[in-house]
């Protein structure tokens, strides 16, 4: 029996290596995407400084004044955030700067100092920057320093009321390629599962190859086991090639454990194979499977954080993103690759992905047809 299963796997592998289209879409295309997107967007930080502004006490006129002035600067892309979340985003490389505006107490102290006569020390405007991006930090501190100086002039005509207090934060040095690699890996696994499996199985069915297997004494379930083994092996190989090219050619860095990435590749591969089987079972023709696969794959490809951070996707569709099965895989892979997170930190998401796999397997078994 095992020899027979291996025969199926080996034969299917041979056919895969001889299928230039499958090789292109499975291996070359994801790498091309990574190369293109990585090259185009790798210098995006030079153009825009994604700046998180922390307003400890809203309604404070001094802080509001600084905020309004910051908003006037075209190069700053301002978002209002909590200090803790903003600093975490800075460490992840998702923000260029974090500006913490003076709180009510500082303003009161300043007002008191004015009333009592002698000048108190300036009120700090804390600016956190990423130590690993010297150019961004330099540019950012320069811009914020200029804004603060303007404010001093405009509001108080004194130069020492507000002062920039800069603090470096040791963020992981996440380049565009570091960010893209896990997303592209997850996307390639999803594509092989959804499009590859469904195209191959419906093709086998249409060309009556599955029916031929039924006429042999080989148990049908063992045949499918061999096919599943083939896809798992090719997915892992595709993933390894993408990982190697990403690291060696595009200089992407993986700060977490490689073995965790491999485990995630395996989990993702099995989950999307299962969904691919369900799609091929529900489709009568290869064209129908292709269309259904695309309908399922495309929204995930663009919404699950494959090419850009989820934060950039409009708020209104954020809830939808949480339900996509690719999202937890991308997040876990990115967590491991760029932030050295453990798999345990992603247990919830991976269990959700596993639930998708089980549900899809039930549909696949229920609807599977040999002809």
């Amino acid at each position: 029996m095992l020899a027979g299963i291996w025969a199926v796997t080996e034969t299917a592998l041979r056919m895969f290596w001889r299928d230039k289209h499958a090789l292109f879409w499975g291996v070359v295309f994801p790498l091309m995407l990574m190369g293109l997107i990585g090259s185009v967007f790798s210098n995006v930080d030079d153009l825009t400084l994604r700046t998180a502004v922390v307003v400890p006490t809203p309604g404070n006129p001094l802080a509001d004044g600084v905020l309004a002035a910051l908003r006037e600067v075209p190069v700053l892309e301002i978002t209002i955030e909590e200090e803790e979340a903003a600093l975490a985003a800075l460490r992840r490389g998702e923000r260029s700067l974090v500006v913490v505006l003076p709180d009510q107490e500082a303003v009161r102290a300043l007002a008191g100092a004015f009333a009592d006569g002698p000048a108190a020390g300036p009120v700090p405007v804390r600016v956190y920057y990423d130590e690993t991006r010297a150019q961004v930090a330099q540019a950012g501190l320069g811009v914020i320093g200029a804004v603060v100086a303007e404010m001093n002039q405009a509001i108080t005509q004194r130069r020492d009321v507000l002062a920039v207090q800069a603090a470096g934060v040791a963020a992981e040095d996440v380049s565009m390629f570091d960010f893209l690699l896990p997303g592209i890996l997850a996307m390639a696994l999803m594509q092989s599962g959804l499009m590859g499996v469904s195209a191959v199985l419906t093709g086998y069915r249409e060309r009556l190859l599955l029916k031929r297997v039924l006429a042999t004494p080989f148990p049908p379930a063992a045949f499918l086991t061999g096919v599943i083994a083939r896809f798992t092996l090719t997915n892992m190989m595709q993933g390894l090639i993408i990982l190697l090219v990403g690291v060696l050619v595009f200089d992407a860095h993986v700060v977490g454990r490689y073995v965790d990435l491999l485990i995630l590749m395996f989990i993702g591969s099995v989950a999307f194979l299962s969904i691919g089987f369900a799609i091929s079972s529900a489709s009568k023709t290869a064209e129908a499977a292709n269309t259904l696969g695309s309908v399922v794959a495309f929204p995930m490809m663009f919404l699950s954080g494959t090419f850009w951070p989820r934060e950039l996707i409009p708020e209104s569709i954020q809830p939808l993103i949480n339900y996509l099965p690719l999202t937890p895989l991308v997040e876990a892979m990115r967590g491991v690759a760029t932030r050295s997170e453990s798999l345990a930190a992603h247990t919830g998401g991976l269990l959700y992905l596993a639930a998708w796999a089980v549900a899809a397997a039930v549909v696949a078994v229920w609807r599977f047809r040999w002809e």
Binding site: A7, K211, A215, P217
Partner: protein, 248 residues
């Protein structure tokens, strides 16, 4: 070697094969002859265990098609209307794969592959990919695949359809050789002259029922026909007349 007993098949309550019974002995070639939609392929598929009968059963090589389908498959070679070969594999790789699915392997399988390719005149194309094969070459390879495990029973669905004269001759020779080797061969066909030449017995099936079964001579004599084609036309027209009367 094949014993069919009251085999019936219905699709959504519509009968397609109705109470078919016949037998094929070892070393005998039986032709299942009928017009399109007569139930030939459905009958063959039930005997090959790729389709479950609604009622009735059959024994193939001594095994029940409903109770022991895997054992039946181990003893039967099947040639479907569509060869269903893997285009990206070579001739030898296709045969090796199916041989392995039939539990064969090692040097014995390699010898068998060489022997079959030689026998069917495909030895020169052993390492050629099937996607480059002509229709006739594919059919020969599909025949080789059907007998890779040396089965005692062969079920061939329209084995010469769409082939040129030389390829058809090769297939007919293959059937004759198989008979000589002691195999039971059951095949379906539209080509009555060909059936007359190669079959020991024929079964005429119309509307899912067997109308006549016997040697070509017996079948002709039973209805006073001069040729098998006349006998075939007689049964098809008579059957159509019965349907007309029922509808009328």
């Amino acid at each position: 070697m094949i014993q069919v007993m009251g085999l019936e098949k219905e699709y959504h309550g519509r009968p397609v094969v109705r109470g078919v019974s016949f037998d094929v002995q070892p070393g005998e070639v039986v032709g299942l002859l009928g017009p399109n939609g007569a139930g030939k392929t459905t009958t063959l598929r039930m005997l090959a265990t790729t389709l479950r009968p609604t009622r009735g059963t059959a024994k193939v090589a001594g095994y029940d098609i409903v109770q022991e389908p895997l054992k039946v498959r181990a003893h039967v070679g099947v040639l479907p209307t569509d060869p269903g070969l893997y285009g990206r594999l070579t001739a030898a790789e296709n045969l090796r794969f199916y041989g392995q699915l039939c539990g064969l392997g090692g040097a014995a399988l390699e010898r068998r592959i060489d022997e079959l390719l030689e026998w069917l005149g495909l030895a020169g194309a052993k390492h050629q990919r099937v996607e480059e094969f002509s229709k006739g070459m594919r059919q020969k390879l599909a025949l080789a695949r059907a007998v890779i495990h040396d089965p005692p029973v062969l079920i061939l669905d329209e084995p010469t359809v769409g082939l040129d004269v030389l390829a058809s001759r090769a297939v007919i020779n293959f059937i004759r050789e198989s008979r000589k080797a002691g195999r039971s061969v059951l095949f379906s066909s539209h080509y009555l002259l060909e059936a007359d030449r190669v079959c020991d017995r024929v079964a005429i099936i119309v509307g899912g029922e067997i109308c006549a079964f016997g040697t070509p001579g017996d079948v002709c004599r039973a209805v006073g026909a001069a040729t098998l084609e006349d006998a075939f036309a007689y049964w098809v027209e008579r059957r159509a007349g019965e349907v007309d009367r029922r509808v009328g």
